[in-house]
Amino acid sequence: MSLLTIIFALLFYFAAAVIIIGLVYRIRLYATTPTPLRIPTMPAPTTGAGVWRRMFFEITLFNSLFKSNKWIWLFGWVFHAALLLVLLRHLRYFTDPVWSWVALIQPLGAYAAFAMVAGLAGLWARRLLVDRVRYISSPSDHLMLALLIAIGITGLGMKYVAATDIVAVKAFFLGLMYFDWQPLPADPVLILHLLLVAMLMIIFPFSKLLHAPGVFFCPTRNQVDNAREKRHMPTGASPSLKQAG
């Protein structure tokens, strides 16, 4: 067992623990924080089913963003949709045998990687070129884009330029899952790709990537507009809110 394999095995256990524990902690926090008042952004659905519909289109089509700005919507939606395909494509490294639908989308996933990098590049261009967006950008906002683009480019590099031994890569990850470690190929592009992915996993629960779970808990989007039919009682307990009850 090479040192590299040991380091990366430990790194991925660590990264997986951080992202899972971090997200569970954060999501619990969101779920248990009280909602003192009813604050849906109107016009809002008047039924629970309506809220499901609103959330579904918000999350799959980025409805509000579409209303807001077509360029951000285009780049943002292309990036996220492509990322989803790319992630699904990568399931083949974690399942044996590979699920048939995962096998089916393999060619799509390969194109999606280009779309993903293009979407990210578009977003970054706006961040650099539009004075308003440049003003609100912190170094972390640029670095996050750099990280994602680097992940995309190293991934594409392995597919189209410097092919790596994907059978061995798959054996490595299955080995991690079944606690039967297998050697990781010492391929520089692969090592870089995996290092960046581990970094992303570790950063996730401490960064703005929390928008992913956050959007599901957003009171302005997920509350029903029925204040006159159903008295809204604050969940959770705080001194000032208890008085209200």
Partner: protein, 496 residues
């Protein structure tokens, strides 16, 4: 006139390039100690304010899912950057919703997140200092809590929530805003924002009865503290004396009269607006809300109806039951509360009112959707009723109505520029500049359709436009109340 230039109209609305710090000087008067203490806050900046502010921030985030999620979720995509009327009117980048939020978020990150504690400069986290406090005071009083940004944010982040939290923290360390806190004090002791005591109110209402009789020959009552009335009308106190508000109040009275409804105003709860919301103070909001419940119980009414007021209707529609309920002693056959436009609309639907539309033929009308009616509440029993019902009431009262451009009305409506506790003379520059997008939209329908008047549905909008219209070359009386139009058109007398 103050020392600033009214922005010029552009050939078509465009997004201005940023001009850093151009509105940093804009600050409302700070509340004096007696005003502060009356509403439960320290009189002046306390010694250990930094720690108190940081602790208060933690407490607020622990108690508000909205705040917690909003502070984490923003990805700085820029979708909101051109949506705020104060940014469009001033070009100050701190008036972009995301930048305004970041004044707060940067401090939150520093003290409450791992990234901000260990890598502050990387994630734009800042220590809380006097400079930050000053920035907060300036720019959180340049947000009218109109929620336009929340419509366009892909994560539904509502800057209003963050502005309210920031103002609450400012109050808790002793730096309150004079205008809001003085008014809250008055409303809590006297019953309305103007500090109008019962005898003055009675006198005013009597005067209005005489005016109506003189003009129409019909006796229309405006009852005060009448026990056993069916309806308690809660209306913004500006309706009792300001123009064009009072013409709206006369309209409500005529509608009640003509429909044969028994109603009353309460001198104890003679205010619809709840300024407690503007400063994010749950406790103050609750004190004001409870007066309405107490008045309703005391007078033994069956229904509560609210007059034309935007933020008030938000508090009434969405918060009142939570803050001061339950209202199970009222007649369950009617929504609690009801909006006066809903009452009039229902009567119109049932042909219970006779309207002479030609009474308003001297006007071509448009409607300014008030921000908190459009994006923070509803009318009627269907989604979007808050857009339909006021328009239907107007169209039943006049022959000439046109809408302003689609991206400036309904859920996309612009704030009048004076909402959220900013309707004070010490902020007149901000108010003039912030009304630019609405004024541009108005100018467009004036040019294209010869619109002469703009109807509004909120006391703040009406006062704001009366003041602002002349800066843009309009007349102050070009803003009218919806129920002023009803008042002109309604035919009194005959069968009830």
């Amino acid at each position: 006139m103050a020392d600033f230039e009214t922005p010029a109209f552009k050939p078509y609305p465009e997004i201005p390039p940023i001009e850093i710090g151009v509105m940093a000087h804009s600050k409302p008067y700070v509340a004096k100690p007696d005003i502060q203490e009356k509403v439960g806050f320290p009189g002046e900046l306390i010694d250990n304010w930094k720690q108190v502010a940081i602790d208060k921030m933690g407490e607020l985030v622990d108690n508000s899912r909205a705040l917690r999620v909003f502070l984490d979720s923003c990805v700085k995509c820029g979708a909101c950057t051109d949506k705020c009327h104060y940014y469009l009117g001033t070009s100050d980048p701190n008036n972009m919703p995301v930048a305004r939020q970041d004044l707060f978020r940067s401090v939150y990150r520093r003290y409450y997140t791992v990234a901000g504690k260990y890598f502050p400069s990387l994630v734009g986290a800042r220590d809380l200092g006097q400079e930050v406090l000053d920035e907060w005071y300036s720019y959180f009083h340049q947000c009218s809590q109109c929620r336009r940004c929340s419509v366009y944010c892909p994560y539904g982040i509502d800057t209003a929530e963050i502005s309210m939290a920031a103002r609450e923290i400012l109050d808790c360390v002793g730096v309150g805003q004079k205008y809001c806190n003085e008014i809250i004090g008055k409303a809590q002791t006297i019953g309305n924002n103007l500090g109008l005591p019962e005898p003055a109110l009675a006198n005013t209402l009597e005067g209005l009865e005489e005016d109506i009789e003189e003009e129409t020959g019909v006796t229309v009552r405006l009852p005060l503290d009448q026990k056993g009335a069916d309806i308690l009308l809660i209306t913004p106190s500006a309706d009792f004396f300001a123009e064009p508000h009072v013409d709206g109040l006369i309209g409500y009275a005529k509608v009640f009269h003509q429909a044969g409804l028994s109603w009353t105003i309460s001198s104890y709860a003679s205010e619809a607006a709840n300024f407690g919301m503007f400063i994010g103070s749950y406790e103050n909001m609750q004190v004001l809300a409870r007066r309405i419940r107490e008045a309703a119980l005391e007078l033994g009414v069956k229904r509560i109806v609210f007059g034309e007021c935007g933020h008030a209707w938000r508090v009434a529609y969405n918060f009142l039951d939570t803050l001061a309920g339950p209202f199970d002693f009222l007649d369950p056959a009617y929504p609690m509360p009801q909006h006066i436009c809903e009452v009039t609309y229902d009567l119109l639907q049932r042909n219970a009112l006779k309207m002479d539309r030609s009474a308003n033929d001297d006007m071509v009308l448009t409607l300014h959707d008030s921000c908190n009616i459009a994006r923070a509440s509803r009318m009627g029993n269907f989604e979007g009723g808050q857009f339909v019902i006021p328009r239907e009431v107007i169209k039943a009262s006049c022959n000439h109505f046109v809408d302003m451009p689609a991206d400036t009305i309904r859920e996309a409506t612009f704030c009048c520029g004076g909402g959220g506790g900013l309707l004070t003379d010490d902020l007149v520059e901000l108010r003039v500049k912030g009304s630019l997008p609405r004024m541009e939209a108005l100018q467009q329908v004036v040019n294209d359709h010869e619109v002469t008047h703009m109807a509004a549905i909120c006391a703040i909008c009406k006062s704001q436009f009366s003041k602002i219209l002349p800066y843009y070359g309009f007349e102050m009386d070009q803003v009218v109340s919806i129920h002023q139009l009803v008042s002109n058109a309604i035919q009194l007398g005959g069968e009830h």
